[in-house]
Subunit: 270 residues, 4 copies
Amino acid sequence: MKTNHPSRYQYKQRILSTINKADGQDQLSRGFDIFIMVLIVLNVFAVITETVQSIQVKYELVFYYFELFTIIVFSIEYLVRLWTCTIIEKYRHPVWGRLKYMFSIEALIDLLAILPFYLPLFLDMDARLLRVLRLFRLMRIFKLGRYFVAFQMIVAVIKKRKEELLITFTLLVVMLILASSLMYYIEHEAQPDVFTSIPATMWWGIATLTTVGYGDVYPVTGLGKLLGSVIAILGIGVFALPTGIIASSFERELSEREKNRKATRRHENN
Amino acid sequence: MKTNHPSRYQYKQRILSTINKADGQDQLSRGFDIFIMVLIVLNVFAVITETVQSIQVKYELVFYYFELFTIIVFSIEYLVRLWTCTIIEKYRHPVWGRLKYMFSIEALIDLLAILPFYLPLFLDMDARLLRVLRLFRLMRIFKLGRYFVAFQMIVAVIKKRKEELLITFTLLVVMLILASSLMYYIEHEAQPDVFTSIPATMWWGIATLTTVGYGDVYPVTGLGKLLGSVIAILGIGVFALPTGIIASSFERELSEREKNRKATRRHENN
Amino acid sequence: MKTNHPSRYQYKQRILSTINKADGQDQLSRGFDIFIMVLIVLNVFAVITETVQSIQVKYELVFYYFELFTIIVFSIEYLVRLWTCTIIEKYRHPVWGRLKYMFSIEALIDLLAILPFYLPLFLDMDARLLRVLRLFRLMRIFKLGRYFVAFQMIVAVIKKRKEELLITFTLLVVMLILASSLMYYIEHEAQPDVFTSIPATMWWGIATLTTVGYGDVYPVTGLGKLLGSVIAILGIGVFALPTGIIASSFERELSEREKNRKATRRHENN
Amino acid sequence: MKTNHPSRYQYKQRILSTINKADGQDQLSRGFDIFIMVLIVLNVFAVITETVQSIQVKYELVFYYFELFTIIVFSIEYLVRLWTCTIIEKYRHPVWGRLKYMFSIEALIDLLAILPFYLPLFLDMDARLLRVLRLFRLMRIFKLGRYFVAFQMIVAVIKKRKEELLITFTLLVVMLILASSLMYYIEHEAQPDVFTSIPATMWWGIATLTTVGYGDVYPVTGLGKLLGSVIAILGIGVFALPTGIIASSFERELSEREKNRKATRRHENN
C-alpha cells in the first residue's frame, strides 16, 4: 500500500537534489547553487581583503559575523550531505558508507572548508599555527569545482598528453640544473654574494627559462652573458613544446567530436 | 507618373550610401571613407601628442582648431546619419525609429565621440572631470570599427571558443589567488613593506604568471623563491592553454572554409 | 659554322653560373658560394667586434685590410654581375637592361654593400654621417638571402596569413593606445616624472603587452596596478593570436604538400 | 651434448639483461634500474647542494662517502658493460669490439661519469681544474637517458622540422644583429657606459627578443625606445614561429599514428 506522505528516502532524495548542482529547471536547487557559489566567492574575497590592514581594522566585526555565518551554512551543508549520502549506492551503509563518503575528495574539501574554525576551539594553538589555519579557509575555493563541469574538458586535454607534458617538464628541469650549475661556476667568482650556490643560481635559471626576468639576479661577465643568452633562447622551446602539445591535443579533441557528431547524424538518417 | 527630379527618399539613399563604407566603385563614397578614417587617426594622434608638455604649449591653437573642425565634421555626420536612418527598415518610423537608432551601439559610439565637447557647454564641471572628458575623445578610435570587416574573423574565432577561454581565465584567477595568498603568508614576515597584503601580493602574482616580471616585487626567502619558481613554471600553461585553444580554433575555421569552397565548386560542376 | 673556342655569350653564362648559387655538382661554383658566404659572415663579425674599444685599437690594421679586401671582392662581383646580367632575358638590352638590373632589389643590396666605402671618397662628410655609413656595412648580411631558399617557406606561411597578422598587429596598437592613455590619466599624478605623457607611457605599455617588463616603469597606485594587471593578461592574447594563426598556417601548408605528393603518386601509379 | 650449468655466454646475457632497462617482468632487472636511477638523481642532488656553504661544511663526510660509493657502483657497471658488450653483434670481437664500444656515446657518457674521480689520482691538477672536474660529475644526469624512451618522441618531432627551426634560429640571430647594431648607434651617446659596443648591446637584444627583460639595460632616448618597442613586438614572432612549427609537427605526428593504427585494424579485419 502506497502512503501519501513522503518516506524518509524521498525526503533525502529531495534535499540532495536541491543542494547538488541543478541540471533541470528546479528553481529551488538553482537558487541554492547560486547562493553557495556567491558565498564561496565572498569568502575568498574576505580572506584576501582581510589582509589589508586598514580594511581589517575598519570592518573587523563584519568579517567576524560573515565568517560565523559562513561556518554555520557550510557546517549544515556538510552534515546534510553526510546524512543524505546513504541514498547513493556506494555510500549505502549507514555507518561504513558514511565513513567512506567522509574520505571522498569532495567531502574532504567540504571538511577542510570548515575545520579551520573548529580546530582552535578544541586544540591549543600558537599565533603562527592560527595564521596558517586562516590560509586554509582559501580551500573553500575548491568547493566551486562542483559547479564547473567545463573544467573537465581542459583537464581531459591535458591528461591525454600527460606523458608528453611530463617529459617537457623533465626536460625543463634537466635544462635548469645544467644551466644553473654552469652559470654558478662561471659567475660565482665575479658575484659571490649573488650566485652563492647552485640552488641560489636556480632562481636565476627559472626567471630566465620562463622569461619572467625579475632582474634581481643576472650575469655580469662576458661568458656569463653568453650562457645567459643561450639559456634565454632555449627558454623559447620551453614555451613552444607544451603549447605545441596542447594545441595539437585540442585539435584532435575537436576533430574527434565533430566526427562523432557526423557519424551520429548519418546513423539517424539511415 | 515618374518625376524627373529625385525624391527625398532617393536623396537620403544617395547620402547614406556615400557616408557608409564603399563596397563598389563609388569614388565619392570611397573618398569620404578615407577622409573620416584619416580624421579619426589624426584625432587619436592629437589626443596622444597633446599630453606632451612641450608640444601642447607650442601647438595649442592648432590642437584647438583641429578639435573644432573634428567636432563640426562628426556632428554633421551624426545628424545626417540620424536624418537618413529612416530608410533602413528597422528604423523606419520617423520618431521611434530614430530613437531606436540613437541607442544602437554604432550611434552611441558616434555620440560619445562628440559629447565630450558639448557637455562642458551645458554643465558646470571641475578640472578633474574635464580631464576625464578629454580621455573620452579616444573613444573616436572605435568609429574605425565600421571600416575593418576583417576584425570580425578574429572575433568569430575567439567567440567560438569563448567557453574554453573563459575557463582558462578562471583557472588563471584561481591560480593567482592561491599563489598570492601562499606567497603572502611566506614572504610577509621577511618583507612586510613589500608583501603588505594579499591584494598587494597579487601584483607580484600577475607579473609572474604572465611572465612580465617588472622586478619591483620578488620573493627573497628560500621558500618564497621555491613557490615563485613553481608559479613561474605554471605560468607557461597560462600561455599554452589559450594559444592551443586559439590555434585549434583557427585550424577548424580554415578547414571548414576550404570544405565549403570545395563543396561549392563540386556543386557548380554538376 | 660552329667555332671551337667559346663565344662571349658562353663565357658570360659560365661565369654567371659560377657566381650564382650552385645547384648541381659544379665544384667551382660551390666553392665560390662558400667563399662569399664566409666573407659575409666575417664582415658582419668585423662590424660587430670593431665597436669593442680594446679590440678595435689592437687590430685596427687587420680590420682595415679586411675591409679593403672585402670591397675589392664585392666590387668585382658587382661589376661581373652587371656585365653578365644581359644573358638573362629581361635584362637583355646592353644599356636599358643593365640599368633595369641595377635597380633590382638584388643589385641594390649588392650596391649598398660597397657604397659606404666609395661615398666618402667623392663626398665631404662629417664624423656623424661617417659613423652612420659604417652601420650600412651591416646591409651585407642581406647578401646572404641569395643562398637560403628555405627562408622563403617561412615567408610564404607568413604571407598567406598576412591579413590576419596585420589585424592582430592593429589590435595590438589599439590596445596599446587605450591602455597607455588610461594608465597616463591614472598614474600621472602619482608619478609625474615617469608617466610624463601618453607617448612616454606607451613605453610601459609595450613592455607590459609583450611581457618584456624591464621594470624601469611600472604603476604604483592601486588603480594603476589593477589596470596593469588587466593589460598583462590581455598581453597573453597578443602571443596567442599570432601563434595560433601561424600554427594553423603551417598545418595547412604541410597538409596540402602531403596531399599533392599523394596525388602525384596516385597519378604515377595509374 | 647440452651441459646443465650455464655457459659463459649465458652468464653474460643474464647480466646484461639485468643491468639494461627491464622491458618485461624481470624483477631483478627492474630493481637494478630503479637503484641506478635513484643513485643518479641523488648524485645530481649532491652536486647541487654541495655548493651551499653551510650544507657542505656540515655533511662533508656524507658527501665524501656517497661519492666513493657512487664511483664504486658506476665503475663496476662500466667494467661489467665492457665485459658483456661482446654478446652484442657489432661489438663481438673481444678486442676491437670492446674498443668500438668504448667509443660509443653510451659508453663515453658512462666513462665521463667516473673519470672526474680517477683523473686527479694520476694527474697533477690545480684548484681551478679540480673545480671544473667537479662540474663534470653533473654529466651523470645523461646516464638517465637510457631509461626514458619517450624523450625520443619529442626529439623526433623536433628533428622532423629541424630545417624550419634552424631557419627560425637564423632569423633570430639576424634580427638580433641588426637590432643590436642599430640600438648601439642610437643609444651609445646617451649611455656610453651601458651600450659600450655592439656585442654588449646584444645582451639587451637577447633580453628583449626573448621577452626576458631583466631591466639591467634598456634604452632611454626617444628613438631608442621606439626601436626597442619594434624589437619587442618582433620578439612575439620569435615565439610564434617555433611554436607554430612544433604544434603543426605534433599534429602531423599524431595524425599519422592514428591512420597507421586504423590501417592496421582494417588489415586485421580483412
